[in-house]
């Protein structure tokens, strides 16, 4: 029986035998293998594929949370997308999202993460452990807790920052909402870049750096000519991943809720407010679909890179 179920695997047209791995060691057979995969696949279909597909459908309807259009939604074609194109608030949100991703992910997390990894590269002992522990702590604590910690830190009346800087009454979250959430997200996510670059710098032979230093290369020259060519793959991977995460980050909602006056209303917050607070589910779904497309572009770029790196190895 076992043989009968395992033999067809070997005769699949185009199936390449993997070097070293015997086909179907446990005698599962394709049918049972399918049974093993089915539960996962069902859940993924129901809660990942279906919502994505439904986003496309909802996006072309005038669906609302309440009222007439809730009971009997009409297909409105591309009206939602055209409305978004002409919507001042959507333009504003898109621009703020760009600032958020570029400021907090590309400049903030990747820049600071690399700087920390570079300064710690030949550092041992308590200082290194302390720095790493605090950077990691910012990353692993629950988002609603860290959101309140920043809310308290930046508070106008009793915030620790105003006490430290001796600027009583400075309303950081009202006067500089974008800057506040950009610095918050830099603080929140630098750990990932720090660890990734830390691992990447381990691949740069110290002797090469030593040679460059003896030849009189400045730190900048060492980074440009010795370090960067060796970690280019890591840099790109890191940038794509943190951009994707930052683009989909909902935590700023917990600090500024998009305010004041939509001045920190990045796309996730915008969709939430339009669709779930404002009830315009159709319009919100259209914006969500635009977000899905942007995610797709970033993820495809990332996966292409991964594939290319595997080929090289």
């Amino acid at each position: 029986v076992v043989q009968a179920t395992s033999r067809p695997d070997e005769t699949i047209v185009g199936a390449r035998p993997e070097p070293g791995a015997p086909p179907d060691a446990a005698g599962l057979g394709r049918l049972r293998a399918g049974g093993f995969i089915a539960p996962s696949l069902l859940l993924i279909l129901a809660f990942l594929v279906a919502p994505a597909a439904w986003t496309i459908y909802l996006g072309v309807t005038d669906f609302r949370l309440t009222g007439l259009a809730a009971a009997n939604p009409q297909i409105v074609g591309l009206d939602n997308y055209l409305a978004a194109l002409g919507d001042e608030r959507f333009h504003n949100s898109l621009l703020l999202t760009l600032q958020f991703v570029f400021g907090s992910a590309v400049l903030g997390q990747a820049g600071l993460g690399f700087a920390i990894a570079w300064s710690l590269r030949d550092q041992r002992g308590p200082l290194r452990r302390m720095v790493e522990a605090f950077v990691l702590l910012a990353w692993i604590l629950p988002s609603s807790v860290v959101a309140f910690l920043w809310y308290a830190l930046l508070d106008r009346d009793g915030g620790t920052l105003n006490v430290l800087l001796d600027t009583p009454g400075m309303a950081w979250l009202l006067d500089y909402p974008m800057l506040s959430i950009i610095i918050f997200n830099t603080w929140r996510g630098t750990a990932f870049s720090m660890m990734l670059y830390g691992a990447a710098l381990g691949n740069v032979p110290p002797s090469h750096l030593e040679t460059a230093r003896l030849a009189g290369a400045s730190t900048w020259q060492q980074l440009r000519d010795v370090v960067f060519p060796r970690i280019r793959g890591h840099v790109l991977t890191n940038l794509l991943l943190i951009s994707l995460w930052t683009f989909n980050d909902f935590a700023p909602f917990l600090i500024t809720a998009g305010g004041p006056e939509q001045r920190s209303e990045i796309l996730p917050v915008y969709v939430y407010k339009v669709a779930l607070t404002g009830g315009q589910l159709g319009f919100g779904a259209a914006i969500s679909f635009v977000m899905l497309l942007i995610n797709l572009v970033i993820a495809l770029a990332y996966l292409r890179m991964l594939g290319r790196r595997k080929e090289r190895v």
Binding site: L48, A50, P142
Partner: protein, 297 residues
């Protein structure tokens, strides 16, 4: 005689030049070191500053928004008992995390095993597609249909609904991690078990599971950490406060009802954060911190 003096002066010249350059190198090294320590201290300050409040306020008899040296007391922890939502919400978080962990680990282990051992047609395309899907279909980008879906399936205010939604999002990456672990384990034990007549499920339970235990532990910890901290999905799908997990209750505590009760908020935040920190310390001391790129969402 004149020949040796020429050599001597040359040597002397060379040595003063090298001494001067050595001095400039050490000056540069000292400056670099000072720069590096200044930078690292600034980094330490930047990352520690927001956390100070969480360390001081819970133990301060008069907690304010300012982090300050506390007048030590443990009385604040009593407020946890007085609030009707605080401790039950932690229990809700445990339900959600445990439910999702059981679902994700068992489903992902089965799928990863099958995908690792049997060449199902289109396997690579499937894995590629799943990875792509899980990275683009985030809760944020699909909050509208998720809400709709839960509404239609009558899963609003249902723990099962939240567990299913979260598990669906975590499964692809979990399958990926576990498949990696299973690919590196030898198949010879399975082959000999098969020779002695063990059924596939028996092989999975008695041979594969013990061998890939570190992988299962990794996925469990990763799932629990993700669900424990997730705000958006329970925020969308729970309307009743007595069903909401701690992530949502913390937010409610400082946004609703005027002046926030800081004694309650600080102690509750600390209690809610503690499990993740403990888990993290446990994992990194036991297994060493394994770096899995692309895992955190």
């Amino acid at each position: 005689v004149s020949g040796t003096s020429v050599v001597e002066t040359r040597e002397r010249k060379a040595s003063t030049v090298s001494a001067r350059s050595a001095a400039s190198v050490t000056v540069r090294a000292v400056l670099a070191r000072i720069g590096r320590y200044t930078f690292l201290s600034a980094v330490l300050g930047f990352f520690a500053l927001p956390l100070l409040w969480l360390a001081t306020a819970p133990f301060d008899s008069q907690p304010t928004l300012t982090a300050s040296i506390p007048e030590f007391t443990l009385d604040n922890f009593r407020t946890l008992l007085d609030n009707p939502y605080a401790l039950p919400s932690l229990l809700n978080s445990i339900y959600l995390a445990a439910g999702a962990a059981i679902l994700v680990v068992s489903f992902a282990a089965l799928a990863a095993y099958a995908l690792s051992r049997v060449r199902v047609p289109g396997r690579d395309a499937l894995l590629y597609g799943l990875l792509l899907l899980s990275s683009i279909v985030t809760g944020t980008a699909t909050m509208v249909p998720l809400f709709e879906l839960a509404f239609r399936l009558n899963l609003i205010d249902s723990r099962l609904g939240v567990i299913l939604v979260l598990s669906g999002g975590l499964l692809p990456a979990a399958i990926f991690i576990l498949k990696d672990f299973m690919d590196t384990t030898p198949t010879s034990y399975e082959e000999s078990a098969r020779v002695f007549g063990a059924s596939p499920l028996q092989i999975v339970r008695h041979i594969v599971v013990p061998v890939v235990r570190p992988g299962l532990a990794t996925v469990t910890v990763w799932t629990v950490a993700n669900v424990w901290g997730n705000f958006l999905v329970p925020f969308l799908l729970f309307r009743l406060p007595d069903k909401q997990p701690a992530a949502v209750i913390v937010y409610t505590l400082y946004t609703e009802g005027g002046q926030a009760n800081l004694a309650l908020l600080s102690t509750f935040s600390l209690l809610y954060s503690l499990p993740v920190v403990v888990m993290f310390i446990f994992v990194s001391s036991r297994y060493g911190f394994r770096f899995h790129g692309g895992i955190k969402r």
